[in-house]
């Protein structure tokens, strides 16, 4: 009998030991997971901040420097990123919102909604480089030139599913009572959606769109062979709006890619400065968007 009690005590000790060990392991995993994040944030700040501070405002306006020449800036890349991302947003926001409206408001009980949602999720899983290949095949090969529009179209492939799914989620959070109240007053579906449902869900939708834009701004793979790169601003003065369609255009992310791999120290410095600017843009907008609505965090 005493033996049984003793054996039971030993077993309990082992069980508690295993429990303790595994708890330590997951705590350790959580600490390890944070190491890369802080390493990246600190190192990019450390390498990039000096260049940004010494360059001052000119960093944001001047052309990227040729090899071995001090100074220069990220002007065309910043403007280029804004232009390409704006084109992407202009294509994907209306599409994403309309698709979400159908899924959330008009597709109740239709089996097709399941499949639309399924394939929208699948589209969200398309690798970003494939978005670039698609736009290359559809636009670059047809127009025979790299362009801001080709880059924006590539980004829109990535943005549409994100915006659709985020918007649908936002619309679903609108209480059913509100719709019924609107319909009860004799509103049409169009009026109910545009006057009641969308305005109510707007803050959450804006969050989703901001996150999609932030992610798109950081993308490189879809741009390297659609928007390509340029050392200069778009020649709107000679080409007019056509410059969006027939000229390669710079972007921060492609600048980082190009300059990170060259042996010239001044260009590497620009790559770090661009990394800091890009990281700042992306992280700050992500954080603001998330904390503004506190989505399931």
């Amino acid at each position: 009998m005493g033996e049984v009690v003793w054996a039971r005590a030993v077993l309990m000790l082992i069980r508690k030991g295993v429990d303790c060990g595994l708890t330590t392991a997951v705590t350790l995993a959580s600490v390890i997971a944070l190491v890369p994040l802080f390493s990246i944030l600190l190192y990019v700040t450390y390498k990039g901040l000096g260049t940004v501070l010494t360059g001052g405002l000119s960093i944001f306006t001047e052309l990227p420097p040729p090899p071995m020449v001090e100074g220069g800036g990220l002007g065309p890349a910043i403007v280029g990123t804004l232009i390409v991302v704006s084109i992407g947003a202009a294509i994907s926001i209306p599409i994403g919102i309309m698709s979400a409206i159908y899924l959330s408001e008009f597709s109740a009980g239709e089996p097709i909604a399941y499949w639309i949602r399924f394939f929208t999720n699948v589209l969200a899983g398309v690798p970003s480089i494939i978005a670039g290949v698609f736009s290359f095949g559809l636009i670059v090969l047809t127009t025979k030139t790299f362009s801001a529009v080709a880059g924006g179209a590539a980004l829109s492939v990535l943005m549409v599913p994100v915006i659709t799914l985020a918007t649908e989620e936002a619309l679903r959070l609108v209480p059913q009572d509100m719709r019924q109240a609107a319909y009860g007053l004799g509103s049409t579906s169009l009026q109910t959606v545009t006057k009641v449902v969308l305005p109510t869900a707007l803050p959450t939708i804006v969050t989703g769109i901001t996150l999609a834009i932030a992610r798109a701004a950081g993308e490189t793979a879809p741009l390297i062979f659609t928007a390509l790169f340029s050392q200069f601003y778009l020649p709107f003065d000679t080409e007019g709006p056509g410059a969006l369609f027939n000229q390669p255009i710079a972007s921060l992310s492609v600048l980082i890619y190009n300059f990170a791999l060259v042996p010239f120290e001044n260009q590497q410095k620009m790559a770090w400065a661009a990394s800091l600017v890009l990281l700042g843009m992306v992280l700050i907008s992500s954080i603001i968007a998330r904390t503004a609505t506190r989505r399931n965090m």
């Binding site: 054996a7 039971r8 077993l11 309990m12 069980r15 508690k16």
Partner: protein, 270 residues
């Protein structure tokens, strides 16, 4: 009057297994229970009744320290199990829960086979004997063996609600506990399944001590030897449960001493 004394002796001659000296039980700042002084007798069925929010489930979950998982839960006072305070630093909650089993409101079989549902508890507790035998014995005791003996490899979730609850009872008694706590075990079941579980409790009474929380007064009067009536009162801005009357079941239902008990069992409030 004769019935009264007979039931009294029924409570009197049994050993005490659990004793509550709970001064107060808090969820954060809210006082959920106060001054619960009671003894639970060995090999008796004790029923906790009372209006919802009276703290009867809370007290039940103190007995096997399931409230440890509730954030901000805090107990003042003692609960003695076989004479030892279960909140003592030397008492291990895991070991305690093996000795005091629990059956929940909703049947909660694991996503495993019927066999594995039963074998899980003994296995983690280092059971060395014949597992097949233990599984069969537990299922027989839970009056489920005949219904499932040919489908032990089927998932536990494939059973009907009443069968699932009996599976959970079999699972609880497979680790050979001394006490089985039942938290409204029939509230999710139909009347026929409920009846079967009640019959089962009568059969298990000789082997285990059973404490059952129920909102169904007929059930309490049918199955239990002892009944505790809890009521809820507003105290310091929170709804606080108190033990109003604790006596043999026939006393509670036929000649309750307190007015509140009389009103409740008489169906006049609650």
């Amino acid at each position: 009057m004769t019935a009264y004394s007979m039931d009294n002796s029924l409570g009197g001659e049994a050993d005490v297994i659990l004793t509550s000296h709970v001064k107060g039980f808090y969820y954060g700042p809210f006082l959920a229970l106060r001054n619960i002084e009671m003894k639970i007798f060995k090999n008796r069925i004790t029923a906790f009744i009372g209006p919802s929010g009276c703290g009867k489930s809370t007290l039940l979950r103190c007995f096997n320290r399931m409230n440890d998982f509730v954030k901000g839960a805090r107990l003042e006072g003692q609960i003695l199990f076989n004479g030892r305070n279960i909140f003592d630093a030397s008492v291990d909650a895991v070991t305690l829960r093996r000795q005091i089993g629990m059956v929940f409101q909703k049947p909660n079989p694991f996503a495993k086979t019927i066999y594995e549902n039963i074998a899980y508890g003994p296995r983690i507790n280092g059971y060395k004997g014949d597992m097949d035998e233990l599984v069969e014995q537990s299922l027989r005791r839970a009056a489920l063996w005949d219904e499932v003996k040919d489908k032990l490899k089927k998932p536990g979730t494939s059973l009907s609600g009443g069968q699932q609850q009996r599976l959970c009872i079999a699972r609880a008694i497979a680790v050979q506990p001394e006490v089985v706590l039942m938290d409204e075990p029939c509230s999710a079941l139909d009347p026929i399944s409920t009846r079967r579980i009640e019959d089962l409790m009568q059969e298990l009474r000789d082997l285990y001590t059973i404490v059952i929380v129920t909102h169904n007064m007929q059930q309490a009067s049918r199955v239990s030897d002892m009944t505790a009536f809890f009521n809820v009162e507003m105290r310091e801005g929170s709804r606080t449960g108190e033990l109003v009357e604790y006596a043999p079941t026939t006393t509670i239902f036929q000649s309750p001493q307190k007015e509140a008990t009389q009103a409740y069992v008489g169906g006049r409030f609650g």
